[in-house]
Symmetry: D5
Subunit: 92 residues, 10 copies
């Protein structure tokens, strides 16, 4: 079951550069783990923004919320989720 | 080069049911042709709306506009395009 | 799996009063069938608007889209869907 | 009498993790008390957001405001309330 | 129990001037009846707009929806309702 | 001459609880003085928000601005003013 | 007492070119009469739009609404009014 | 003096295909004349939309409005104009 | 050549009352100098807001930006500029 | 391949005037380098705002994101990118 998420990162001013770097490292590890197990089907950078569109393939809303709220940078993200259904014109 | 498009269909009131059916048939054919040649990388229905998110893989902005404006239902669509770049955390 | 939908009805000017009445009858029948089988968990009128908030309990995004697009008045509805997860403070 | 509330939490940057945890504990206690006495008819997490949709069953606007402004995290919440009426298609 | 409503009138193009005049007459009668029985506590024109702010004093959300949907011009109105509570600084 | 104002309070994070309490006391005194002299015709809490709708009866725009900018909490308020005229259906 | 109004004209599709020309003639006459008697203190075209900003100098909200609703093209206008007060830095 | 304009075309449903084609022909002629005399410094299609961004180089606001309102498709355009100034980092 | 500007002041929390007073003094001096030389044709307070509408009469976009960015409180202002043209109904 | 970007600068309150000046120097150098190599085809100040419209001529979305995210002031910018295609009426 697919969901599209627009995820935008907004760090508060008081975070140090070191903390940001540390969070980005944890984020990469977490993100790539999810991609490898197949539940994180794709991630693309929005050109010119500290934001991405991400495609998730999960079994339930609860699983999706668990994944999203587990992102190390979740407290600094603004996320909007769109549930997707099969399109009648899709050949997949 | 990837682009995400949100495409929303708004038929005017005067279109007959037959014309709508005819357009939907042409749309399916056009859409599936593009998917088979690889430039239309994915299409998903937005749940509850006559709208979709579509992923295009093209060589230029001009090619993308040519593809989008060629959709049989293009005159009745409201489209918003977001250019995408490779995300540093993507494993693809 | 729960979803909240805000559904707003906008009839085009050319629909006759008879057609509106006929659609409302079909809508009631369809709506109550879904409520009885448990997949339509609640529906409430937004005070002062031809709109409602509805709660759906379904197994997948595809099932939800099938239900929503099956409403007799679907062509005249503007729907926004919000996926819901279990809240940690809920006692249910 | 039912009201739907969308409640979004926005903690200011200066709140310590301890203070947040303490507030969340008080919030849970307050929330579950209201659920048990029947005036708080349901609460669901919005997937991907620090927000919820909540359903209240109260006797008056004043009672609802008293309940909402009594939430321990009220100073950090952005709340939008929608009054609900019985829907003619509801079987409840 | 008080509610503030912003009511905006939008007549479709096909309504004749006679029909508009007839509706306005019915509207005045309906509106003044409600004002006399005390449930319609005030109505003011928004300067420069075919819109008003109205104050209703009713016993429930259902009663308010019944009143609003009973306006002869209701099908041509866009209404937004705000529930009001007693303000701690009010001397009334 | 009547004006409706939506007034929303947003205290900055650095204000102490004591300063907030002090401002609220001054606010109450100022507000009730205006209500007693008849220029502040009504104030209602927006349910669930630190906001109110207020009705002012003044002789000029300048007088209204003087009143509004004199509120002790004015620097922390976001105010939107709507000029009101007599409604043809009003019985007052 | 000054008010700024943004006035935007939106003719419905069914108005004939002759009717539009007739309305524009009446509008000019009405507008210039108000300018000559001093209550219409200025009117400027918004570049690129069928819209204007207008400055009115009137004695009351009721007088302003009477003026605005008297414009021959009023049924086809979308108007937003902003009440203005004397600015402390103005040398007038 | 440069201005950026976002111009969006919205044909009403009743325009015939022939009338649209005729207008597009006139539009091209008018547009290219302005480009050749140097006052229309550039025009680009917004990908996926019946809209463009256009750059005008004119001597005054009045001249710009005269040019914009002279477009054959002006009655069917929604235009937003942004005045531009020299940027301190520009090497032109 | 006329431009309308909506100018809104938003002081950051860390500015001292003394610094605010000093800036307001400089602002008044700068503003009144421009009004006396004729390029600042009018300034009005928006009732209830720390904002104004201002009318500028300048020879070019560059001159207007130079004037606006020279305001002592410019770093704390949010400005929106609308270019104005002569209105065909204006008698000036 | 052309893209239009609206770039808005928002410095956080804690940046010192020296740091701002240093960033502006680096920005100018970076910006002019890109303009000289032809990939930065134009930059214009939005009158009255700390913002610009910029035109980029690049080979891919990835190249554009690399350029934009390389701006020294990128962490303090809000950027919106619009992909542009050749317009059929353009004479270039």
């Amino acid at each position: 079951m697919l969901f599209l998420a627009r995820m935008e990162v907004q760090f508060p001013a008081h975070l140090s550069a070191e903390e940001v770097t540390r969070l980005q490292g944890l984020e990469k590890e977490y993100s790539q783990g999810l991609q490898r197990d197949g539940r994180f089907a794709g991630i693309w950078r929005v050109v010119g923004e500290y934001a991405n569109y991400s495609l998730f393939d999960v079994a339930s809303n609860d699983e999706l919320h668990e994944i999203l709220s587990g992102f190390p940078m979740y407290p600094y993200m603004k996320i909007k989720v769109t549930p997707l259904a099969k399109h009648p014109n899709s050949i997949k």
